[in-house]
């Protein structure tokens, strides 16, 4: 099924709720990492960096899937292309 060009695609409430939760989780992990010096704090330091890296990339993935389901294949392809570019950059950096 493809949505007609120009049809309104309203803000995704699920993504909005997820972003609110993500901010709370990131703040909790960051606060524990910054304030607690033991192994729990160190684990939180690693977790918060991994988390804030993952959140925007997951948002792109979710949007890409949403657009694919909506029939907006062109922009679903653009989202996939962006994730592939980030992946390629990571692979180049790792070498």
């Amino acid at each position: 099924m493809s949505a007609p060009q120009g049809q309104i695609d309203p803000p995704l409430r699920g993504v909005e709720r997820a972003m609110r939760l993500a901010a709370i989780v990131a703040f909790g992990l960051a606060a524990v990492g910054a304030l607690i010096p033991n192994s729990v704090g160190r684990a939180s330091e690693v977790a918060v960096v991994a988390f804030i890296v993952a959140v925007p990339l997951l948002r792109v993935l979710v949007l890409g899937i949403h657009w694919l389901r909506l029939g907006d294949r062109r922009f679903a392809g653009v989202a996939l292309g962006l994730l592939l570019i980030v992946a390629a950059g990571s692979i180049i950096a790792a070498q």
């Binding site: 120009g6 309104i8 909005e16 960051a30 948002r59």
Partner: protein
């Protein structure tokens, strides 16, 4: 916990979220001035941008301000530019890059500050049901006070070239390209400044994520400092997004112009 780093992250992220600039362009010079080595300051700048972007996300989505199709498409050019810039970072001198950045920021600040009035006006007949982005295009509708404003991004080719340049500069200099992206969207592509700022706040989170992966592979992350800056940036990003949603477009534009001129001066002094 380093409370000075925490306070700097709060303030710079709030400023970054209001203007859609990202806080790194202010935070990194301030960290260096307060004694943090430049090699450690750059990753902390990206942490502040990624965290600020996460914090501002929910509030900006709630207002229907982010145009994801425009953001992800332009980010394709910016991220490609950033990767090419990072790979070519040994070719240009640090001083030259800072002066180029200062000139771009100053020009954007002056151009944005000179424009008067609101380009995109509320249109009768639109309602809350029309708020959102349009399938298959770079257009949409956002709410401004009690009215609903339609918009359409124009001159995509010029915009894409500027986004590639912003990524290239960001990759070369290690700074967030937000201070190029927001003026490029609003002044060149004629996207309303609040939509431009919110969309840029989303996209600089993606750029920062890509940059942080690179820095992690290079072993340049001070995780304790990252956690401190992240906590501050989330508070600042949330406060900045809240303030942005209450300001009128001319107020956001004036704020953006002043911030860009300050950034230009900071960069020129550092050069």
């Amino acid at each position: 916990m380093n409370w000075a780093d925490f306070a700097l992250a709060v303030v710079t992220s709030a400023v970054g979220a209001v203007g859609g600039l990202g806080g790194a362009v202010l935070l990194v010079p301030l960290l260096v001035l307060t004694g943090t080595p430049a090699q450690s300051a750059a990753p902390l700048g990206l942490v502040s941008v990624a965290a600020g972007s996460t914090a501002a996300g929910a509030r900006q989505l709630q207002g229907g301000l982010v145009n994801h199709r425009l953001g992800i498409t332009t980010e394709l050019f910016a991220t490609t530019g950033a990767i090419v810039g990072a790979l070519a970072s040994g070719l240009a001198s640090d001083r030259f890059l800072k002066l180029v950045l200062a000139a771009v920021a100053l020009a954007a600040g002056i151009l944005g500050g000179r424009r008067k009035g609101i380009r995109n006006l509320p249109q009768a007949g639109l309602s809350a049901n029309d708020v959102g982005e349009h399938v298959g295009s770079f257009s949409g509708v956002y709410q401004l006070d009690d009215g609903f404003v339609p918009y359409q991004a124009n001159r995509f080719g010029v915009g894409a070239a500027l986004f590639t340049l912003s990524g290239l500069i960001a990759g070369l200099a290690g700074a967030s390209g937000g201070f190029v992206k927001t003026p490029a969207s609003s002044e060149v592509m004629h996207v309303p400044v609040r939509v431009a700022a919110a969309t840029t706040t989303f996209t600089i989170g993606i750029t920062s994520a890509a940059g942080l992966i690179v820095f992690a592979f290079q072993g340049r992350l001070d995780l304790r400092a990252c956690a401190t800056v992240c906590a501050g940036a989330i508070i600042g990003g949330n406060a900045g997004a809240s303030l942005q949603s209450r300001l009128s477009p001319p107020q956001v534009r004036r704020f953006l112009s002043v911030a860009l001129v300050v950034i230009a001066v900071v960069l020129a002094v550092r050069a």
